[in-house]
């Protein structure tokens, strides 16, 4: 691992664990085991490093989501696989999902520029989900609902779920399973009849 990569790795860990403001140049360089000045040398400034960390995680997420929905049977199955993979990703210790919680359009950071870059990348994720929903509406595995709005609704579920699991003490151990069933019930035409 080059020193540049060490920095990105340390940044992912620290931004994820402690957030933007609590993560200082000193902590990052110490964790990475490199000199303080290397941070600006390679990444320009703290903001850009934060973005690099967030985008790196997001790209991993998109890749895994694409792979997961590959070869799905019905559209509903695609949505289910998408959600399951999203949730699994969020607790994969190697993926540093917490960074995305700090650095995403769903984060509470307003002052950050580069926000648009993140928003565009995230809308790719949403589009991916929307395609699954559209497929399901077409093949009848999902209720006849507007795909865009429905994808957004499912996405709200995922956003709330990962926050509850990762940031609060309320999370039942079955949370992720519960959510998958919850989503299925809301989409599936058969209901539970």
């Amino acid at each position: 691992m080059t020193k540049k990569e060490s920095l990105l790795q340390a940044a992912k860990e620290l931004f994820g664990e402690h957030g933007y403001n609590e993560t200082t140049f000193k902590k990052i360089s110490e964790r990475a085991g490199v000199a303080l000045g290397l941070l600006t040398h390679h990444y320009g400034n703290k903001e850009k490093l934060f973005m690099a960390a967030g985008l790196d995680v997001l790209e991993h997420l998109v890749a895994r989501l694409r792979a997961a929905i590959e070869g799905s049977g019905t559209g509903l199955e695609a949505v289910q696989r998408f959600c399951a993979e999203y949730l699994a990703f969020s607790i994969d210790p190697g993926e540093h999902f917490l960074v995305l919680i700090r650095c995403s359009p769903y984060s509470d950071v307003k002052t950050r520029e580069d926000r648009k870059v993140m928003e565009e990348k995230f809308s790719d994720v949403l589009t991916l989900l929307q395609d699954c929903v559209s497929k399901g509406v077409a093949d009848g595995s999902i209720l006849n609902l507007p795909p865009k709005e429905t994808a957004t609704a499912v996405s709200c579920n995922l956003v709330g779920s990962v926050r509850t699991r990762l940031l609060t003490p309320y999370s039942p151990s079955s949370l992720y399973d519960d959510m998958l069933q919850f989503i299925t019930r809301a989409l599936s035409p058969g209901g539970v009849c």
Copy 2:
């Protein structure tokens, strides 16, 4: 309005708009039109002022939720009223819901000791919702699901919804209506059969 109240009001506005770190004593006292020193005089320190602002909003929320579910017919209706009120509260400009997004168990500030106080207050909200679900399970208006887990699932929906609406540009105008229907479909025994 006393000077102490002016400070709380200014704090709610600024913490909500700009977050914890970007909100300084100077900005708060200027917005409130009072002397800098009054802040520590009345609230002790920044942390405590932040908590005071968050708890104040949270108490308003709880009060409005209680009032909303009062006199519901079925348990399902209670859940629906609860969710509708929660979402309405989040976009009521007088309520400064954004403060709760900064200052909540979902907040990214880990160092805060008062975290537990917030968690307990938040769990009151969850318990309120759980009661509605229990009632619905009992009266048959809601599927036979475990109340606690189901309340958490609904809560995930709400958390994701308000973040999508308040923090991102992806929100369709119908988002909150969509979510209410989404939740209803997931809970209601009739399904859409």
Copy 3:
């Protein structure tokens, strides 16, 4: 002397002696005997303190120049008094003229904003000199030359003189006297015939 005044005093000394870049917050606050943070508290930033120091000296200069030319007989005498006072001011240890050498339109600093404020204040000095020249042209004590251009020419003499005296080792002890005679010869109609 208040702490705010101590800071200005220390700033005048240090900016004058060592220039802008070599004068640090640390040095200023130590020389003034106050806390580091008081600098930004009272003056906003280094740039503004630098301006405050320069303008303070400039205002003293203008006041002394005005007083010096008061009650002159001829215009030539007014110009002579003006120049003599300007040069005397430049070596008055209590006036910190060196600050003006660092912080003036004649300084070599291009990046500094606020430059216009200084330029306007300095043009007051030039106008004052121009009035003396005009008077001399009118009363015949000065050759029939364009006042504005002539005032600028005299000003060039002064600018070069103070730099030579204060910044180089070439300065003969008679420099200032020499310059006054030089200027007189260039303006006076009688010449040395």
Copy 4:
């Protein structure tokens, strides 16, 4: 142009335009289009590069001044040619005179050890001018004044003139012509009688 020459050229431009402190190794190497490390490799350190740039300009100036006074008739004419060439040099875009304003005995950088080297080189210029004055006093084209002091006085004029022209907005378009006449009037025995 070798890479070493590119560096000197870039240094002259940047030191002249932005001064010593605002000119960084990074900017110089980028402007020159060479690697950062070449700078220390060829010139040792920033200080030495600055000196090299200043001395290079100064040597050009001395050469042009020598050529200009060659073959003058009277001493007064020699002084006039000297001054005219000095002023013309100052606004020749290929000569980067501004570097001399940053890097000269008039510079505000006191810490620099190489200061003496510059002072000696500058005194060559003064000696050259003094020779012209001496000649003029001898041939009667200049008033009977002490040559050294008079050369210094003329030099003050030039120093003030180039600063007024290059650094301030007060310069009339005729400034350099005005100054030549001003100097002539101050030196010439005929006066304007």
